[in-house]
Each structure stands twice: as structure tokens, then as C-alpha cells.
Amino acid sequence: MGNIAKFGIIAGKKVDLNKFETSLIEGKLNPFIERCLKEYHALDIGHKVLSGERLTTDEMKFLVEKASTGLLLKLIELCPGRLRELRLPQPILVLPLSSWLWECSELELIERSFKRIAECASSRPAVLVDQIPFERLKTSITRLFSEIRQRFGPVKILGSSVGEIMGTRAGGSGSLPDDLVVSRLIQLKEAGLSGVLGTAATERLHLLKEVGLTYAVRTNLDLISSDQEIVDVLKHLREVMDRDRTLDLWIPSLLERGSAAAELRVLRVAAIGAIVLDKIRFIRATSVALSLEGMRMAKRFGANDFGYGAVDDFTADALGIDRIERLREVLSKKSGSRSRCSRVQ
């Protein structure tokens, strides 16, 4: 089809044919790909991925345990309809309410927040509050959020996780009954909260969706020690995805950036997620877990959301992420070679 047809329909889904220049001949895998997949004992998996058919648990396990990086990259390319929208990194700013609320009065709290947001208002950052104590919700917090919106317009205000919002340990909100969780979430929503950054608590996703708060599911791989656990996590996510249709964005990550080997593990798990979580809209590459180089490679591993970049050094340190300017620079710059006047065709 060469350069004339840019898009085609494969397995009922619109696909970008330029990606398939080397992979398909008349809708089927070319002999080179067939041969490679056979060599990797992954021919059946390749055909299933191409046709959009779901992989079994054993096949998921094979990918986690045995698939080489080259094979995973190829399977990502073969996934049909993976023209998911690309979300470039958004600027974010942290307001450390955990300390400010106790240090200063309500007015001072608002002033400090205004000052911090004003310094980077032109980049229109999302605002992340690190803690929302419920005893101050109806007073200082609500007023703060309201003043911010009045002054700076429709700012996205985020909390870091459901557990932290509840003032419990991460994942601790599981012990509270649903109706109490819902009532608190509604209060937060009415106070002005837009959503949460990431949560591991998949059992409460439907509550977040009901209330209208945005969220993401985060899996910290440093808490997972075996391949089987990764398979179990992916299986569970697929069930949540099917059952509630509540899984829009998944973040395979680490608690904090580690070695490059750990980074590669995150990328590989992201790739496997992109292959097996067929209904998910976004898989996030976050600079919490990945270096700038890793972020640059992440798209090849199936990531299509690049999370947030810090607008100031305080935010960068607090969240362990890179500055937004640098992230955008790295992700948008084309890499290529000088072309010589003498052309090889």
C-alpha cells in the first residue's frame, strides 16, 4: 500500500498503516515476522494480538516470564487500533497543605497559595494538595479552593490518593464503609477537588467514578516480587476493566526511581499491560519511575500518557519528578541523523 493509503481497517479497527510497513502483507504477518515469532515460540500470541483476541492467563505469564524486549516491542506494534490519543506531560504544582495548615492562618494560607500559583500561572498548572484533613475541609480548604478558582480560573485541583485524602495509610480506606467514603468524596468534590493522582485501591474506583472525580490506578512494582504477582495484577485489572468499565488510566510505577534495571522492568510491564489491557485508554509513563531516557523510550513500550512535570524545584523534589520544560523538550525533540548530499536510495 506504500505511501498512498495511510489508514486501513484490520480486525474491525482503524489502524495506521505506516506502522505496518514492515509487518503486514495484505493483512497478514510478513514472513520475517512469522519467522521471528516462531523462533520466540510466540506465533499464536502474535496472531491473537493482531486479530484483537484476548490472551489467556498462560499467555500473559509467558510474556511476563519469557518474552524478550524485542518481542514485546513487536507485539505492541501489532496491536490493532492502538491509535490511542497521546497525552503529553502537563505541568503540576504542589501546595504543601500538610505543613501550611498548621503554620499559618487561613488568610496567610491563601496568600501563600496565590503566590506560588502566580509564579507559574502562565503555564496553567494542575495543583496538587498533599493532604486534606477533614476537620478543616468545610472551612479553610473549601475557602482556599474557591479563592484559587476565582483568582486563576478553572484550575484542576488534585489530591494524591484516596487513602491520603481519607487521612489513612495508603490503601487504608478499604476499612471504611462505602457510604462513608462516598459522602466524604462528595464533600471533597463540592469543596472543589477535581480528582486524585493515583490509587492502588481498585475496589473503590466505581465510587470515584460515581462522584465524578478523576483518578488513575497505580501499581508500584517495587512492592511486587514475583512474575506471578504481576500476572495476578494484570488479571485483576482486566477484570476491573471489564466489570466496572472504570479503568481509564493505569500507571505501572515505582515508589521512587531506582536502578535502570528497575526502569526497564516498569517499561516491560507497561508493554505487557498495553497488550493485555485491551480496553484501557491510557497507560502512563511517569518520571517518578523513569529517567528522561526512559520517558523517551516509553512510547515504544506502549505508554501514551506522560503524566506531569514539575513547574518548580519544590514540586520536583516533593514528587520526585522532572521539570516540565525538560520533559517536554525530551519528548518532543526529533532524533535523527544528518542527511548527506549524496543520497543512498
Partner: protein, 592 residues
Amino acid sequence: MKRIKVSNTNYIITMPYRHLAGLDFVEYQENSATASARKLHEGEVDLALIPVAELAAHGGYVGLNYGLASRTGHGTIKLYHRVPLEGISRIYLYQGSSSSALLLRLLLKRFWSFSPMLVRTPDYVTGDMLARNEALLVLDESPVIPTCEGMRCTDLVREWYRVTGLPFVALVWAMRPGALTVKQHQILNRALQQSATARLSLARPVTVGDDVKLKESEKYVNTVRQAFAYYLNSRIIEGLQNFLDMSADCNLLPACRYRPAVYSLFKKEAGSSVAAMPVWQILQNVLDGKRLDISSAVRLARKASIADLSMVAEQLRSKVVIKPSFAVQVLHQEEHLRDKNILESRLQRMVESGIKSLRFDPQNSRLNKIEHYETLFHKIKERYGLFIEAFSVGQLILLARRNRISTQEAIARLVTAGLDAVSAEGGELLITTRMREAGHTSFSAEEWLRVVRWVHRYGAGSCCCLRISQNDSWEERFVHLHKLRLLQDELPGFRYFFTCGESYPENIELHLRITLTARIFLDNVPLLQVSDFDSQKINDVLQADTCASRLAVKINSKESNYRRALTAVRKNIWLYDIQDEKSRRSSVSELH
């Protein structure tokens, strides 16, 4: 009309092509055949008369249907020897031999039943210097070579004709598609035609010495008229294609179809009548063990996905190593090697900690007496048996110069004393003009290759590399790799290959792409190494994961405890291996 640079060869037999110098849009020059090919590869000329071996090695040129062919089997490629062919153990090849050397190798592999060592030699080697079971391959442009009188002579072109019945093409006028306009090609075609018919008056042997009789000289001119063709008709092209196909079958060359320059109605520049092979088919050929030409490699590098390149590199690696190894060297500075006590204690610690390889980086300003290094290496070898890697090519040249000996002699002495390998420094991109830009002014690309050739010839090893720079074009990279590959074919000695250069986030994909395609192209250097492996760098880990066979780490000799340093290195590598523990895919073995 834009001017074009044209390179003819400086052989008597191609003198008729001097006619091209008279064209007003041509900047004419003459070089040896291999130099002409190099200039064409590197873009210094637009059109050149090049060996057919270089035509196939590049794969991206079109031909003008003119060159130099032998119709009836008489050629100028002669093998002089004293014993029958089967008794020859070593053949010396003249310096610029390309198609000649290829013809010899094809005959050896396909039709003759013996395998002598092939050694490239300076042109001053003559027949009377040979031992009884040695032979000399020459480009014989005169009726008789005085120093080979009395020796047997095998005409390789006649041999080719005998076994195939086809003409042999040694040289072809070649260019990149688009180098000439239609009008320029028409004018050049006319000039080439005139050259072919004017050969009688131009081809008189001008180097006939005083002692050669006139009768023999006239006989030679008549032979030339009957034997050689300058226009490549269909039969001659059939012979050319046959030669290329057979060489490809024997894996001496990448597969190549001769493509004449053709012009389409819409394009005013010469194109090719043959459609380019799809990228997947190129990759398939690589997996089948077929050699890649420069043009196909450039296409792969530009168009193949990282996924495809990774899969091929992984499969190539698995044919060579079951799992990657890691290697540790202790890096010694010049001043430590001059203090006997410090040196001995450090070497002893090395041996006790199990590290067997040392690397020595002398300072240029302190390179003086060669005897000092000879004594040092000899002692280290005798007492500790360590592997010694030292000197760059530039340092060998400098050392030779300061000791007023030839570089060849300096290498021979150092290797005899115990030098095991030299470093790749200076050979990051073997294109002389680009080397000058990078500040390497003391030697050219060809000198670097010549020195390394001597290193290999004397039994020591070296390594080769490619720099990562966005300022280099893909073609430049593969021309560089082609030179390395050719050298390795002739005189294997490169122990491993690595990529080098500053790594930063924006170029990580380029770095990986360069490394993967280089791995695929350099099919005769089995190991790809990640030098100074750092498990904190995703770039290094990705290479280790997809294509590298060796992870190398250097310990500074100043380290007080080599065992502790080695443990830290193992932990460094083990961090990479954490993935192994959880994923049970691959693991790393040690190799010092």
C-alpha cells in the same frame, strides 16, 4: 551545468578514460581503484571507476555500462608462485587489490581445493623475496615482471574464463542515482565511447623498461586490443552478474544486482530499473546469514522499527553466546607503571582478586623508549600472565616516530614482548575528513587501518567502535563499518565492537538504533560490548538486554581493595540481574 568530480584509476590499462578530463563540466582526477571507491563512498567524487567488489559492498550505485572487462580470459591479475597451486601456504596480495583479491578468494573457495593464508602487503614486496611455498598476487601491467622471472604464473582471469566461459569484469564506472542529469550522462556516454575506441593509441605501455624488447611491447598492445573491453555489453554484464552471484553465494559479498543508470519520463536524473527490496526481506536475508550492503543497511537504519531490529539482534546474539558475560579490567596510569614497588603490589592484588586483564593508558608526552615498554610487558607476562591492553593507534605511530623505527617494527616488538591488544581510540569514524573535524590530525583513516592490520598480522588483537553523533549521516556510519568489516575479513583480530559517544535523553533512540544496525552489519565481529557498563543508565541496560554480549567495567588501579571493587561491580551487574531473578530470562556470567 553543475560540475561533477570524476575519479579514474591510475592504471595503464585505464588510461583511455583520460579522455573524460577534456569535458568542461568534469573535475578529473586519478587514484588507485580502492581509493576511487573510498572517495565515491565518502562523497568526495560523484562518479568513479571502482572495483566490482566495492560496487556490491555499497549496493546503492548504478553503472554506466563502461568499465574494464576481460573478454577472452587474458587479464592482468597474475599469481606468481614456485610450487604447484596446492602447495602454496601463503599468498601476498598487493596493497590496492579489491576485485583481484575477491576473484582469488572465489576461486579458492569454489573451484580450488586449498586454503592458503592471504596477507596484504606493501607494494615493495617482490617475487624474489618470497619463500618457496609463498605466492604473490599482482596487477601485472607490463609484459614481464623482472623479479618474478622463472616463477610459475597463473592468470586468474584466464582461470575464471576456463571455469565459467564468461568474461571477467574488474572495474565499473559507477555513481549514485541522481548524480548526473540526462544531458550530462549523454555527453559522458559519448566521451566513454570515444575512450573505448581510442584505446589503441592511448594504451601503449609507457612503463615498459629499457630492458624489455620492442617486439614484446607490440605483442602486449595487440593482446590488449583483443583481450580487454571497455564497453560492457550484455554478455559481459552476464559475466559480471555471475561473478557477483557466486561471490554472494560464498558469502564473500552481499547479494547485488548490477543496475544500469536509466532515466524515466518524469525524472530527469538517473534512477534504477530495479525496485528496492522491502525492509522485511532485508531482515529475512540477515537472519539467513546473508551479508548486508551499505545501501540496504542505510534503508534498514532509516525504515526498520526498533522492534524488528531488536528481534534480529537478539537472535544473532543467541547464535554466539548463551548469555552475556561481564569483563573487568584494571586501568593503570603511566606513573604507576614506572614505580616498580607500586606496580608489583597492584599486579599481585589483581591476581589475588581474580582479575586477569589490565589496561594501560600512557600519556603521549611520556612516550619515549620502546625498550621500557618491552621490558615492562615481558615482566608482567612472565610473572603474572596477565592480558595486556595498551596504546592507541596514534600512540603506536608516535612511539615509532620517537624511537626512529617504522610503526610495523614497533608493533612487532611490542607484541613479541607481550602486548595482547590495542585500543580503538582514534577509529571512531574512519572517514578522514570527519576525523580532521574531530581533531585527529596525526593520522588518516587509511593509516589507522594499516596500523591495526599490522597489529592483527602479528597476532595481537584490537577492538573497533562507532561513535554516536547526530552530525554523522547513516551512510558515513556504514562506510566506516564496511572498512572495519573488510579488515576483519582479511585479518581477523577485532575482539569486540562497541558504540561510544555522549549519551543524553534526546538521542537514546538514535543510540539504540545505531547500535542495533551496527550489530547487524558487522557480521564478522561476534561480540558487541557495552563499555563502562553502568546499571544506572537505561541506555546501557537496554543494550545489555537486546544486543550486547559483553558488559565491561574498568576498576581504577588506585582502588585500595580490588576484591571490594570487584564485589561492587558484581553488585552493579547484579542490579541488572535483578530482572533475571524475577523474570528468569537471562543471566550474566563472569569473564575476566
